[in-house]
Symmetry: D2
Subunit: 348 residues, 4 copies
C-alpha cells in the first residue's frame, strides 16, 4: 500500500503514521516529494487495511498496489497452465468442449445426451446430480443416484465426467464418482466448499459468481490453490446487469482479462449466459474467437421435458454446426480441438 499525504500534512502527521503502522507490525518507507510526501507500506495487508489510514490526519489518499492473489497469478507463472481431466487436456494449444445435460434425469437421457455431446465435439461429459435451485420447490437433482448414472455413462462412452458439488459435506461422495468437480456460480464464495474441493485431489471447474468481479473470482481460485490444488479451470458464465433480454450478460472481455492476470485456463458457458438456445451458437463462436480455452454447453435429447433449463439446451439439429464451428474456429485460433473419445461401448 501507498499513503499519499496531503500537501499541508505536517511532520507530526507523518511520524504518527509511521508509529501506527509499526504498531500493526508493518514497515513504513517515507519519501518526501516537492509538494507531497508518499509513504510506502510493507506488511500484512489485512491488518494495514484495518488501520483506517484514510481517516488519519494529513492523509490524502491510500492506495493498494499489488495483486491480492499469488498462486493463481500470472506474475510469477508466466506460461499458461494445462489442466488434465484424466487424459483430456484443457488449456495450452487445445480447445476443449464440455457438453451434456443440465441435470441427470435417467440413464437413458444421460447416455443419449452423452452421445449428443460427443457428436457436438465434446471430450468431456457434464451433468448435474446435485442442483442448486433458486426455488425449494424445483427439482434438486438425483443426488448419489445421479452420480451412479454418470459413472455408468462413463463406462459406456469413455467420456470423463464433470459434475457439480454444492456443499462441503458432499465433496467426498461426489469426488468418488467424478473426474472433475464443478463449483457453481452461487457457491463461488462458499469458502468451506472451496477449501474442501481444494483437498479432494481432482481438477476443479470454478464458475464465476454472477456478481463477482474478476478479481474476486481469482481470489476464489486462490482459496482452492492454497489447499494445494492448482488444477483449476475458470469458467465465465455471465454476470448480472440491468439488461433483461438475456438471462445474464456474457462478459466476453473476461476471457482475455483473466488469461492475462492468471495462468489458469479460461472457458465459457454460452448456455447459462444467454439462457436461450438460439444464442448458444453465436456466443460459442464469440468465446472461441476471443481466445477461450474451451466451452461448456447444455444439450438434451428432449428439452421440452427437461427438469432443468430446457430452453437453453442444444438439440440434435444443432450438434453438427457446433462441432464444425469448434473445429474451424479453433484452427483459425491456432488450437487443436480435443478429440471426442467416441462411443465405443465397453465390452461387458
Amino acid at each position: 500500500m501507498v499513503i499519499v499525504m496531503a500537501p499541508d500534512a505536517t511532520s507530526d502527521n507523518i511520524d504518527s503514521l509511521v508509529t501506527l503502522v509499526s504498531a500493526a507490525g508493518g514497515e513504513a518507507y517515507v519519501t518526501r516529494g516537492v509538494s507531497r510526501t508518499i509513504i510506502g507500506l510493507v506488511g500484512d495487508v489485512q491488518r494495514l487495511s484495518n488501520l483506517d489510514l484514510r481517516a488519519q490526519p494529513g492523509v490524502s489518499d491510500v492506495l493498494r498496489i499489488s495483486a491480492p492473489y499469488k498462486l493463481v497469478s500470472r506474475e510469477n507463472h508466466v506460461s499458461r497452465s494445462v489442466v488434465r481431466v484424466r487424459d483430456v487436456p484443457i488449456g495450452g494449444d487445445h480447445m476443449t468442449v464440455i457438453a451434456g445435460p443440465c441435470a441427470v434425469e435417467t440413464p437413458e437421457q444421460t447416455l443419449e445426451s452423452a452421445r449428443m455431446a460427443a457428436d457436438a465435439g465434446a471430450a468431456l461429459l457434464r451433468g448435474g446430480a446435485y442442483k442448486p435451485r433458486t426455488s425449494p420447490y424445483a427439482f434438486q437433482g438425483l443426488g448419489e443416484e445421479g452420480l451412479k448414472i454418470l459413472a455408468e455413462t462413463r463406462e459406456e462412452t469413455g467420456m470423463p465426467i464433470v459434475t457439480e458439488v454444492v456443499d462441503a459435506g458432499d465433496v467426498e461422495v461426489v469426488a468418488s464418482y467424478a473426474d472433475m468437480l464443478q463449483v457453481g456460480t452461487r457457491n463461488m464464495q462458499n469458502f468451506a466448499l472451496l477449501q474442501a474441493v481444494g483437498e479432494a485431489g481432482l481438477p476443479v471447474l470454478l464458475k464465476r459468481g454472477m456478481n463477482a468481479t474478476i478479481e474476486e473470482w481469482l481470489m476464489a481460485a486462490e482459496y482452492i490453490a492454497q489447499r494445494g490444488n492448482l488444477d483449476i479451470v475458470l469458467c465465465e458464465r455471465g454476470i448480472r446487469t440491468f439488461e433483461k433480454a438475456t438471462r445474464n450478460t456474457l462478459d466476453i472481455s473476461a476471457v482475455p482479462v483473466a488469461q492475462e492476470l492468471s495462468h489458469l485456463p479460461v472457458i465459457v458457458d454460452p448456455s447459462h449466459s444467454g439462457g436461450k438456445r438460439n444464442l448458444v451458437l453465436p456466443l460459442s463462436r464469440a468465446a472461441i474467437a476471443a481466445g477461450a480455452d474451451g466451452i461448456i454447453v447444455d444439450v438434451h435429447p428432449t428439452p421440452e421435458t427437461a427438469l432443468c433449463d430446457g430452453p437453453q439446451a442444444l438439440v440434435e439439429e444443432d450438434l453438427a454446426e457446433l462441432r464444425d464451428v469448434a473445429g474451424t474456429l479453433s484452427t483459425l485460433m491456432g488450437r487443436d480441438l480435443t478429440p471426442a473419445p467416441g462411443l465405443e461401448p465397453v465390452q461387458v
Copy 2:
C-alpha cells in the same frame, strides 16, 4: 402461467399446446378473445417452465402470474410476524438494535464491544466467530474459540447473541452457543446451509445476497421456512452497483417492498452498506424512517486495530447519538425501542 397467442395463431397451434401441457401433467384453460386467444395453465411451474412454450408455433408471450414463494409470502399471512430471540422481539411495534464487533477477537474486546452495543441502544449482541473472507489470507475468525467468548460475554451482559454460520457442517456447533444464526450475503444461495439452519431450532437472520433480487431473497427465506422454521428476519445490507463511492448501494426501497411482499421482519445493516463510519448514522436514520424493524451495526473499541472491517465500525463518541436517533425516530414511527438488557454483571 398464462400463454398469450399471436393474432395469427391457428386452432392447430392451440390444440398442440393443450396436448403438450397435458403431457407435462398440467391443465390448460383456453379463452378465445376477439383478436387473440389466451391459455391459462395450472400445474407444476417448474415442469411447465421447461416446456419452452415461447418457442411453440403461434405463441406470442408466456407470463408467470403468482409469487413463487408461499410460506414467507404475505398473501396468506397478512399480519406482520414478530420473531423472538430469547426474550427480545424483532418486528411488530418494536425497533430492535443489534450491535457488536464484526469479528470476535479477544474476550476483552468482545466484552467492551458488548458494553458499547448496550450504550448504543442495542438489545442483541452481534459478533463473528466464522468469517467468510474474500481472501484466503485474511483473518478467518476464531471458530469455536470465538463462540465461547461470545457465550461468556452473554453470561456477563445478559445480551443474547447473533452470530454467523458459513457452512452446513458447522451449524450444529454454532447453534449450541448462539441465540440466533446469521446467514451472510455470500451464502444467501448456499442451499445446503439454508436447509441446515432451517432445522437448527433457532431464529435466523438472513442477509440479502449482494446481487440478489428481492424475489430471490424471499425464495432463500422460503428454503428455511420449508424446513419448518418461520423465525426468520430479513436483513438488507446493500447491493452491488456501478457506484464506487460506497462499498455497496443500500437499497432502502427494499424495506417497504419486502415488508409488503412478506410477513417477515426486515432490518438494515448500515455498516456494511456504506462501508464507512461517517455513513452509519445517516443510513441508520434513513432505515428507521423507511420503516425498518431494526438495524444491525458494527462497533469496535479500537477500530484502527480491528481484524475485520475496522473503517466502518462506530466508536465511543458515536454511541449516544445512535441511541438517541434510534429512540427518537422510533417513537416518531410508532415503535418502541427494545430496551437494552443493561450490563448488570453476573455475580461470580
Copy 3:
C-alpha cells in the same frame, strides 16, 4: 497523478518517464523509496492521462489523487451553499418540498396540482412542459403552451416554478417563464444543454443520471458552474440496477456522500426512484432522515388519467401525511420546513 514504479524499474525507466511527462507540458517529481520509486505529476490531467503511463517500462501503477471537479467541490468551499429560487431557499437549515404534476396537461389540472402541492407542504411548484419520453409515441408535453399554463398558475398561487428543459435550443424560451431550470436524468451528460443552462441566469436543478456515478454527477454540475452559475441543486432520483421490484434503486447514500464532496444542496426524488405511489412516503421519510435538503414529489388530482407517470403520483389523501412527515422529521433534523406560499390568489 502519482506513478508507482515497479521494484525492478531502472533509472533509465524513470528518466524516460520524466522526459515523456515534460514533453506533454507536465512536471514530474521523483521520490526514491527503499523498495520503490514514486513519481508525482503536476500538469493537465487530460493530457497526462493520454500518455498511457501504465504501459511504459518499469511502471507498476498510476493513480489519480485529486478531485477532478473544482468549483462544486467542498474542498475549497467548506460551508454548504443555499440556493434561492426567487425567495425560496434550498439548503442550509431549510427543508424544501417541491411538488406538482409530472406533466402539465391543462390549466385546471395544473392549478389543482399546485393547490395539492401547497397542501403537501411544498414551497415550489414542479411541472413538465417538455417531456423526454423513451417512446416517440408517448405524450411529449405541451411545450410553450405548458410554460404559459405554469406561469398563470404562478400568478394565481405565488409559487415559483421548476420546469425541465431538454434541449439547448429551448433554454431561452423556457428560461423566460421558469424560476428554476431542471436538467433531467437522461440529459445529465448533454453537455451542450449543461453549458446553456449555465448561462441562463437561473438556478438549476440537476438530476443524477440513472447510471451516473456520483463523481460524474459532480462533473456535470461543474459544467454548469464553469459557465459562472453556481446556483445548482443536485437531485438523486434512483439508479439503474438489476432489481426489478422498483423502477429504479434510490441510492440513499448519495445524499451524505454528495454533501460531503460538494457544497451544493442535495435533494431526493422519491417518486421516480420507486415508481410506485405506496413507496413515496417511506422514501420521503428516508430522504429527510438521511439529511437531504429537500424532496421533489409528483402529485396529481386524477392519476388514473394522467398523461405521464400516473402510478407514482400522490393523491389527495396522501398530502396531509407528507406535510406532517416533512414538518416533524425536518424539526428532528434541525431544519425548518420552508413555508408554502399559500394560495392567496392575485387580485385581477
Copy 4:
C-alpha cells in the same frame, strides 16, 4: 396489454375495468376462463398505462404484449437492411470496418490515421470534431475546424467520414461535412438530437447508451425512424456494470439479440468497450464471430500524445493483424469484407 384478474374477482370488478378502459378511449375484450378472467386491451398504450390498472379491485396482474417499436422492428420487415454510406454498404453479407482517431487533432494526424485505418481494412473513416467529455476541463474537439480537416482527408483518401454530433443545434453544420452522423452513448436519449438527425438526410450510427436496455436502444432508433430516416446502424459499445477491470462490459449477446428484434445492421465498438489496446483484437474477433455487421475501431499514429482515449487506440503494428482477422473471420461467417477505398490521392 392484458389484464389478468384475481381468482376471486367479481363481475362488478370486471365491469368497472371495462368502463375505465372505455373512458380512456380503449377497448376491452373479456375472456372468462375456468379459474380466472383475462381482459385484452386495445388502445393508446400510454393512456392505458396511466390508468394504474394494477391498483384496481380484482386485478392480479397487467401485462404488455407487443414490442413498443414498430418501424425498426423485424416483425414487419423480416429481411435485414443494408445501409449505405455513400457507396459503402453496412449490413447484409458485408463486413464493414470503420476506423480512425477518437478525436481529430491536426490535418497530419488525421491523414495518417486514415492511412492506418485503410491499412487495417477500414472502408470508412471515423473521427471526432465535437467530443462529449465527462470533464469540462478536457479537450472538447476542434468543432467546425475539425470537420474541415475530415473533409480534406476524405478528399485525399476517398474514404467517407463518420463523425459525432452532440447537440441538435449543430446537426446542420455537421451534416454539411459528414457522410454519416454518429449519436454517442451519452446522447442516446437526447430526443431533440435524435429527431434532428432523423431529418438530416444522412445515415446515422446510433451508439447504445451505456446503461440502456436493448429495448430502449431500439426505441431511440425508432425516434430517428419516425422522422423518416431508416438508414440507421446500431452500435454496441459496452454497458456499465460492477466490473472494474474493463472500461465497460461489452454485451456481446446484444449483437444476435438486436439482430433478431430489428432489421437494422448491428456493429460493435471494441475500443470503447474494453478501453485497453490489448483487448481490441480479442473483442473484434468475438464481435465478428458473434455475427456483427461491422466494427468501429480507434487508431492513432502516436497514442501517447493523443488528446482523447489514447490508451485504447491501435497502433501501426496492430493493423495487419486486424485486417487479417477481419478478412479471415468474415469469410468464415459468410461475409465479404467491404474493401478499403485505398489511398489514391485526388489530383489537384
